[in-house]
């Protein structure tokens, strides 16, 4: 199996769609890479792959080598800056036209997930993040089956479960937690996404999708709560247009001032969307410190799990 050189496999799961699995996966990957780990991202959302768009590599094509299919490189490791490499594999790369529907029934999806797990040639990786579609169906069953059979027990680190705070979302995500318990996948923690929005005009924070639901759910299931992530439209703009996030003076996130220094030059080239500089630009995003802490928690949860 081509996963043999991967040290830790982390799944990103959620029963609910649109809660930010792909954006959490993206940010975990960027943070892990900033912390010096080599990271791979595997997107198994077969009928709605978002990862290529997230990393700005929609036009990339996968090539084949003797060891398997080669994933797309977002950036290489930079030992002087202490950052790790980042590689991505998604079904999106195999589609002829981006608007085409992939209409697949379960058995075909199962075959594809298996093939993705066995035939992608991941070189030495510290972390492989697997982004999943919503639900507890074909893709998830095949993923769990294949990993539990073929991956070494110390390889399959566990799952990060994403939710939004409102009850309608946690109701579905509770089902996902039960799926993990049933299939014996360790839960590394719960991330509560979209928990508040700070008005750029008056700095009033509104809980658009209510608040606290993720933490209560984590408590009910006795799993670690990794933290809340507010909504930051600047992150979306960064993903969609490649613009470096800038914040007005006095913007506070979790008590930290993240406003852009007044004298910071506005560099024109920075507005160009290109995959290689994504990680550097992400550093300026208000969500980066939140994810950096969360990533550290995930890393230590993985290490604890391996000792146990």
């Amino acid at each position: 199996m081509s996963l043999s050189k991967v040290k830790h496999i982390v799944l990103v799961l959620s029963g609910k769609g649109g809660v930010g699995k792909s954006s959490v996966t993206t940010q975990l990957a960027l943070s892990l890479s900033l912390a010096g780990h080599s990271v791979g991202v595997l997107d198994i959302d077969l009928t709605g792959p978002s990862i290529p768009r997230m990393f700005g590599i929609e036009n990339a094509k996968v090539t084949q080598a003797p060891g398997g299919w080669l994933p797309i490189t977002v950036h290489e490791a930079d030992p002087t800056a202490g950052t790790g490499s980042l590689r991505v594999m998604s079904l999106g790369f195999l589609l002829p036209r981006r608007g085409d529907a992939v209409v697949w029934r379960g058995p075909k999806k199962t075959a594809m997930v298996r093939q993705f797990l066995s035939d992608v040639f991941w070189d030495e990786l510290d972390y492989l993040l697997i982004d999943t579609p919503p639900g507890t169906s074909d893709e998830h069953i095949s993923l769990a089956e294949t990993l539990l059979q073929k991956a070494r027990p110390d390889q399959l680190a566990g799952a990060v479960v994403v939710t939004t705070p409102q009850a309608v979302a946690t109701a579905d995500v509770r089902k996902e937690l039960n799926f993990c318990i049933k299939t014996g996948i360790r839960i590394l923690g719960v991330v509560e996404n979209m928990c508040g929005f700070v008005c750029p005009n008056c700095s009033e924070c509104t809980m658009i999708f209510s608040s606290g639901g993720g933490e209560i759910m984590a408590g009910d299931f006795g799993v670690q709560f990794l933290g809340s992530v507010p909504i930051d439209p600047q992150f979306l703009v960064l993903i969609e247009t490649g613009k470096r996030p800038r914040y007005p003076e006095g913007t506070l996130v979790n008590g930290q001032d993240i406003s852009t220094p007044a004298g910071a030059p506005h560099i024109e080239e920075e507005s160009i969307k290109d995959a290689a500089s994504l990680m550097q630009k992400y550093r300026a995003c208000s969500l980066a410190p939140i994810f950096s802490k969360m990533t550290a928690d995930v890393v230590s949860a993985v290490q604890r799990a391996n000792l146990a």
Binding site: G18, S50, L95, G135, A167, C199, I239
Partner: protein
């Protein structure tokens, strides 16, 4: 040498035209890269060479037309309008919109409305309509749906779960079976509208709903999206699916467009439409644009508590926008918009 790069994804047309084969009896476990014994390529794919099951899979007969289709058509004969709510993307508000439409159609007491939740792994409809704790009653006429209001019937897998949080770990064929039962065995009676809420994606549930409802006729599908490109990308695929499956797209609704700060009334685009949003997509695909619904935290709250948003917050701008959407939709299925949703 690694196995060759997978064959290009099967075209949607061929999947739609070729129903699954009857599952053959296998003599050995399925090998790696098995295309699936029920798939069209069973026994014929490159990876089938040398598999002990090859001959069995290749000779499995195509299933032929499902004998239950006639039963379904008969069962649904009393339903005037069947509307699907679709989106390629999750969490954009399919279930919310379905509930809003249901409440809107049901405000007229002479209408009877049914809601069928085909999201098997993540059912949200029961919670949003406040019937989460209901169970299904079975009589000799069939399964009785739960009633959220005197004229609003609901069916969802949630009603069949022993515990609220139980995971439904089902593969495709099992999900198809349940959807068929929802259509064949549920005593829907004479409905003016049947709204079908779907999970995100273009997979088993969508194919089954399409197959089973073809005979009795679908009015069309309402597409839901949020303004950002990551979402439009998936919705474009869903529209492509409808075209290929011959489902009429009634229109596109853009949800969560702008957020108005309750303190300073400053409107922010949280999910920024960097590529023109829903309106541009509707134009690009040549479908009707039914309207933009602003992001209002009270919609989410109404859903969490299972209340009707129209009744609880009739003055909110989101409510006004939704009423326009309902009127637009009523027009596309040939009803008088003002009769369905009268002016205030």
């Amino acid at each position: 040498m690694a196995p060759s790069l997978i064959d290009p994804p099967e075209s949607a047309e061929s999947v739609l035209a070729n129903p699954l084969k009857a599952p053959p009896k296998l003599v050995a476990p399925e090998p790696e890269h098995c295309p699936g014994p029920e798939s069209e390529k069973a026994g014929l794919a490159d990876s089938c060479a040398g598999c002990p099951n090859q001959a069995i899979c290749a000779s499995a007969a195509p299933k032929g037309p499902d004998p239950d289709l006639d039963l379904i058509t008969a069962r649904l004969a009393g339903i005037k309008h069947k509307i699907l709510v679709l989106s390629g993307k999750g969490g954009v508000g399919k279930s919310t919109l379905t509930c809003m439409l249901a409440h809107a159609f049901a405000t007229n007491p002479s209408n009877t409305v049914g809601v069928m939740d085909t999201d098997i792994c993540g059912p949200s409809i029961p919670k949003m309509l406040g019937v989460e704790t209901e169970t299904i009653h079975v009589s000799n006429a069939g399964w009785s749906p739960a009633w959220a209001m005197d004229n609003l019937a609901v069916m969802s897998i949630q009603f069949m779960l022993p515990n609220r949080d139980d995971a439904i770990i089902w593969r495709g064929p099992k999900k198809n079976g349940l959807i068929k039962q929802f259509l064949k065995d549920v005593e829907w009676g004479d409905l003016d509208f049947l709204l079908v809420d779907t999970p995100p994606g273009t997979s088993d549930e969508h194919l089954s709903v399409n197959t089973y409802l073809k005979g009795s006729g679908i009015d069309g599908a309402v597409m839901v999206t949020t303004p950002q490109e990551v979402s439009l990308l998936d919705v474009r695929k869903e529209i492509d699916f409808c075209r290929k499956a011959g489902i009429k797209v009634l229109g596109l609704v853009e949800n969560m467009s702008a957020f108005v700060c309750p303190k300073c009334t400053h409107a922010s685009e949280i999910f920024k439409a960097t590529t023109g949003g829903g309106r541009a997509l509707a134009e690009e695909m040549g479908i009707a644009f039914l309207g933009s619904v602003p992001l209002d935290p009270r919609i989410g709250m109404a859903c969490d508590y299972g209340e009707s948003f129209f009744d609880s917050f009739p003055d909110s701008p989101a409510c006004k926008a939704l009423k326009e959407v309902v009127r637009g939709l009523a027009g596309t299925v040939g009803l008088d918009p003002l009769e369905v949703m009268p002016d205030d």
